[in-house]
């Protein structure tokens, strides 16, 4: 693959992450509406929301510091960076070599760190509350994420996502208990990290239980648009991470295979949306003090996955 083709694939990957994320979120919201017997807004509604927010003025609090103003760009940038290293349409992703799965976790960490800082920056009580909750969840979710990452990289003897994808693609009959455990752990982590229902509710504003919405409550205009967009991309990035780790079939290895890979990714994302909504509809939001148990379960599953890799394989 020459340099031009590499650049082309990378550009497509970045464009996919940035542009398809609102579409994916629109699909999830649409399904959610249907599952609750409501009429859904069009699948393009997230784009319209973003456009509206981009065209509005920014209203800054008087005591907002540079942290508050810089955070939307930092968060958007890190999540986009995370999306650009996950080989979801082609396993020959040039940027994939620059960040492995552990660096990916660190990227999410940076985004979260800045979001939490921005939540506290203006000094409203909701922001501080959201930040402290977010940090509690993060401190519990990160060990589980890392354990999952380690277990997956134990298989392919590499932490690089490209190598993992190629390794899993090369297996003929693949029924591995540790992968199953890690898969379930990953679903739990994904729900927690992207702020979906059992942990956080993405649709509530001004509720005492909010976490992510609490932190970005003071944002408006362009800043809010970037934060929301980053949130959508985070869901998309986690879904594509799931695709890359657990169902990498069809991910192309050259430019010619990319259109077919795109089609498969679209199908897989459609299915992931259905799964996410089924989980969300079937569960009630947890009390915040139950969240440690929820994430403890994720950690336990990931640990069991690692153990059964040694024990059973």
């Amino acid at each position: 693959m020459n340099i031009l083709e590499q650049l082309l694939t990378e550009a497509m990957q970045i464009a996919l992450t940035a542009l398809a994320a609102p579409l994916f979120v629109g699909w999830v919201r649409m399904l959610k509406c249907w599952s609750q017997g409501r009429r859904a807004p069009g699948i393009l509604q997230p784009y319209r929301n973003l456009l509206k927010l981009f065209s509005k003025d920014i209203l800054l609090a008087e005591n907002a510091s540079w942290v508050f103003r810089a955070t939307p760009y930092v968060v958007f940038g890190t999540i986009l960076m995370a999306g650009s290293v996950i080989p979801v349409i082609s396993s020959e992703l040039p940027l994939s070599a620059s960040a492995d799965i552990i660096a990916l976790v660190a990227l999410f960490g940076i985004a979260r760190f800045f979001t939490a800082l921005a939540g506290m920056d203006v000094g409203t009580s909701f922001g501080g509350m959201g930040s402290s909750r977010e940090m509690m969840i993060a401190s519990l979710a990160e060990p589980a994420v890392l354990m999952t990452a380690f277990t997956v990289s134990l298989f392919s003897h590499s932490t690089s996502l490209s190598v993992i994808v190629k390794y899993v693609q090369g297996l003929s009959f693949f029924l591995s208990p540790s992968m199953a455990f890690v898969f379930f752990a990953f679903i739990l982590i994904m729900l927690a990290e992207t702020g979906r229902v059992p942990v956080d509710n993405p649709v509530t504003h001004l509720e005492l239980t909010m976490i992510h919405e609490g932190m970005i409550l003071e944002y408006s205009g362009r800043h809010l648009a970037l934060m929301e967009w980053a949130g959508m991309m985070k869901l998309f990035v986690f879904s594509s991470l799931g695709i890359a780790l657990f169902s990498p079939w069809g991910i192309a290895s050259d430019v010619a295979g990319v259109p077919f890979a795109l089609l498969l990714v679209a199908l897989k994302l459609t299915a992931i949306g259905v799964i996410v909504v089924l989980i969300e509809t079937g569960m009630a939001k947890m009390r915040i003090f139950r969240v440690p148990e929820f994430l403890g379960t994720a950690f336990l599953l990931a640990t069991l996955g690692m153990l059964s890799h040694f024990m059973l394989e």
Binding site: F173, L175, S176, P177, S178, A180, F181, P292, E293, G296, T297, L300, L301, T303, L304, L307, S308, F310, M311, L312, E313
Partner: protein, 221 residues
């Protein structure tokens, strides 16, 4: 190739048995416990059927069928009836909090992995890798008996332990002889019935199923 697939399937089921053991430790509701226990029995019976098919051992089919009948249908039903009769709907009360129990459980799994290492080296059976899981299932059932206050949950812990023993027999030696297997099955059935009566008696005598109450049986000194 079929051999390779059955090894993978068996390992997969072993992993699920391990998972259900942990789920038993994590579950707070008694009905939930019963459902998980039934699932564990189901995976167990499926695993023995696979071993029977792969190693071509007839009597293991009988064991698998017995497991399916007893541990998936009869025992959960008896316990269900018992729970309904006793009106126990409250949550399970663990002595040690659940995350700690889980961590102890992980330690037990590592312990049993090391304990079974010599057996794994010597054995030539294709099920040898699942022995560690079997031993951890026994230990986790044991842990459940230790960390729960209520008699019914302790009984479920005991039955989970027996599941582990059965699984250990299958993975270490392709199952016990049929006579022994039948004897054990009958034992378990009788045990469950006796437990039922016993628990009922505890309830009528002490007005509770909390076994810490039984410490009051001591004479005052």
């Amino acid at each position: 190739m079929t051999h390779g697939i059955s090894i993978q399937l068996n390992n997969f089921l072993a992993a699920f048995i391990l998972l259900t053991s942990f789920a038993l430790l994590a579950q707070r509701r008694i009905y939930g416990l019963l459902v998980i226990f039934a699932w564990q029995g189901f995976f167990l019976s499926l695993s023995s059927a696979i071993v029977a098919y792969t190693a071509d051992i007839r009597h293991l089919y009988v064991s698998a069928a017995l497991t399916l009948l007893l541990k998936v249908i009869v025992l959960p039903y008896i316990l269900y009836a018992l729970i309904n009769k006793l009106n126990i709907f409250r949550e399970v009360e663990p002595l040690v909090n659940i995350p700690t129990t889980m961590l102890i459980g992980v330690a037990l799994v590592i312990f049993s992995y090391h304990l079974t290492a010599p057996v794994r080296e010597l054995s030539t059976l294709f099920t040898r890798t699942t022995l560690a899981v079997a031993l951890s299932t026994v230990l986790l059932g044991f842990l459940m008996m230790i960390t729960r206050k209520k008699a019914v949950t302790q009984v479920i812990g005991f039955l989970a332990m027996e599941n582990g023993l059965f699984f250990a027999a299958t993975s270490a030696t392709y199952g016990m002889p049929l006579v022994v297997e039948l004897g054990v099955a009958l034992d378990i059935l009788i045990a469950a019935l006796i437990f039922g009566i016993f628990i009922f008696q505890i309830r009528t005598t002490f007005d509770t199923l909390d076994l810490t109450e039984m410490e009051k049986l001591k004479e005052d000194s």
